[in-house]
Amino acid sequence: MPETENKIPAGSGAAAAANEPQKGPAPAASPEPLLEIEHLKTYFPVKSGLWGRTKAHVKAVDDISLTLRAGETFGLVGESGSGKSTVGRSIVRLTDKTAGEIRYRGQDLYAMPERELRRLRPKIQLIFQDPYSSLNPRVRIGDAIGEAMLQHGLASPDNVREQVLEVLELCGLPRYHIDRFPHEFSGGQRQRVGIARALAMNPDLIIADEPVSALDVSIQAQIINLFRKLQRERGLTYLFISHDLSVVEHLCSRIGVMYLGSMVETAPRAELFGNPLHPYTKALLSAVPVPVPKLKRERIVLQGDIPSPVNPPSGCKFHTRCPLAFDRCKAEVPEFRDMGGEHFVACHLA
């Protein structure tokens, strides 16, 4: 039903526009920055002892800068513990930042009062990794999707059901699911519910925190295709957090690689996959499985584990595992340099 699908952005969009302080109409894919992250640091205190004195900090995110343009899909990759989820959670203020600045359309998300933030929240939505725990087991999915629409005035009590049905259909869920409880769904269906819930808020930015990692591969493909379809139809901007490079390659226009809380390389997709400059990126790419068994590739195997973010290595954080490390890496933090063509890398050798 293409007609009903087209109605949604029009109907709910009008209500949202009145709700949101926006500088004129936002063009779909423009170089205008939607979200700017500057020198973001998010530390978690390590407390111990009787009085819970802070002994140290887990530096989950350690000085990250990133600009998201409206309409693009930015992929954030890195291994477990690299801080990529914390970046996403810091943006939506689920985890408070330690330092730095996060601006959405020029507004500092951390400088506004609670009330104002709550009004802005629909515009930045988060899709959670685990579709099993991100839905309240005692709330019907129709309510789960509709309640936030009602609270933000995106729907009225008379038409909320209709609007929820439309969003469900848009996300590939049959209408009769509206009165069901989460436990009646499969993992893939639940993730669709999670996406529908975020989408119902008519957001500009969707932060997807490993949205397909908990799903099996055939369902992953469906969900990724859904993400692409929604972006086409709604002009959404995605911050796609994943550890799966093949998923990111399929979906993202620009990719950032994180290691131990720091960004080591960002580049457009083709550039990153064709011409990786950071040794860590190279190692990651060499680990991506290729469906050609005969193809012999050089596999770069990193030694050891990711170091503790409580006490990260000096200089370049990667030097303890880098096959190319030399003296300078231990002493000096590499600058995040522009290599041309939007390719940035933090490595002394690049």
Partner: protein, 307 residues
């Protein structure tokens, strides 16, 4: 077409699950637990007997009759008579009314108070939490029995009329019981608020009212039901103890506790078991039945807590 694998068969689509199948499933599970159902049946029978039974008794006026005092069970008086010639069976049933009412009412009070304070504590944390929890700690540091005694003694000291004592006993019992309830609710609240679906409500920008009443409390209800059920048994027991020591509901109003107290001498104990056996067994059976039912409920509603 992106039809999701494992979706419901198309034919089922028309019938939407309107009733919460979660609750229905719980009931089905509970029905399978024979012991719990037996407990429930006993409790229900006990309630019916106590509240309806005395209406059919010719001795319901509680009149004393010195000519038939301390009779052993016979055809006229199935459980004998006490030292004032009153029918023991009728008195046990009348006492049951009081004991069960006190148990039920003080449970409702303490659960309401405990849930409210525990939920506030766990939801708002910070200063609110500190104040409520320190008060709860204070009440919990004093063993409940001495605390009950002190309150009971105060009651006697203030010369509260006997017919009002029942209500004050309810209050006392709930005052002693709410802290443990509040703690449990608070703990559950703290764990719930860290769950991903609660973080989702934050990201969606829902207000506190919605979060609390629509997302958190429904998840607490199974726990509340279980605690509430088990609480009734505890309250009945506490009331009996209090009345046994003459500090709870006092004569002439009969309760199971003060009936046993009335038979608390060597002769009655040795020679007239019909005076103390019926109320004692009533307490025993009722409390055991409630606890068995509560355990069954817990297995169904709160599977994580299984020992």
């Amino acid at each position: 077409m992106s039809s999701v694998s494992g979706a419901a068969a198309p034919g089922r689509g028309a019938k939407t699950a309107v009733k919460s199948s979660m609750w229905r499933q719980s009931v089905r599970l509970l029905l399978k637990n024979k012991l719990a159902i037996a407990g429930l049946v006993i409790v229900v029978l006990m309630f019916l007997a106590c509240f309806i039974g005395p209406m059919f008794s010719p001795y319901a006026d509680n009149k004393t009759n010195m000519r038939i005092m301390n009779r052993a069970p016979n055809l006229q008086h199935w459980l004998g008579t006490d030292k004032l010639g009153r029918d023991v069976l009728t008195r046990v049933l009348l006492a049951g009314r009081i004991s069960l009412t006190v148990g039920l009412a003080s449970m409702v009070l303490s659960v309401t108070l405990g849930t409210l304070l525990g939920a506030l504590s766990g939801f708002f944390r910070g200063v609110v939490d500190q104040v409520i929890m320190r008060v709860a700690d204070l009440l919990l540091t004093i063993p409940s029995l001495p605390l009950l005694f002190i309150f009971g003694a105060l009651l006697s000291d203030w010369k509260v009329p006997p017919e009002n004592r029942m209500y004050i006993v309810m209050l006392i019992l709930s005052l002693v019981n709410w802290p443990s309830m509040a703690r449990m609710i608070r703990g559950q609240m703290l764990s719930l608020r860290e769950r991903e679906f609660m973080q989702a409500t934050t990201v969606l920008g829902l207000n506190n009212k919605r979060k609390l009443f629509h997302h958190l409390l429904p998840n607490l209800i199974p726990l509340i039901i279980v605690i509430a059920t088990l609480n009734i048994g505890g309250a009945i027991l506490s009331e009996s103890v209090l009345s046994f020591f003459g500090l709870g509901v006092t004569a002439p109003t009969p309760t199971w506790g003060n009936m046993i107290d009335a038979a608390n001498n060597l002769i009655d104990f040795q020679e007239r078991p019909w005076l103390w056996m019926p109320p004692g067994l009533s307490i025993f059976i009722t409390v055991i039945a409630i606890n068995i039912f509560g355990d069954g409920l817990r297995d169904v509603l709160d599977p994580k807590q299984k020992r």
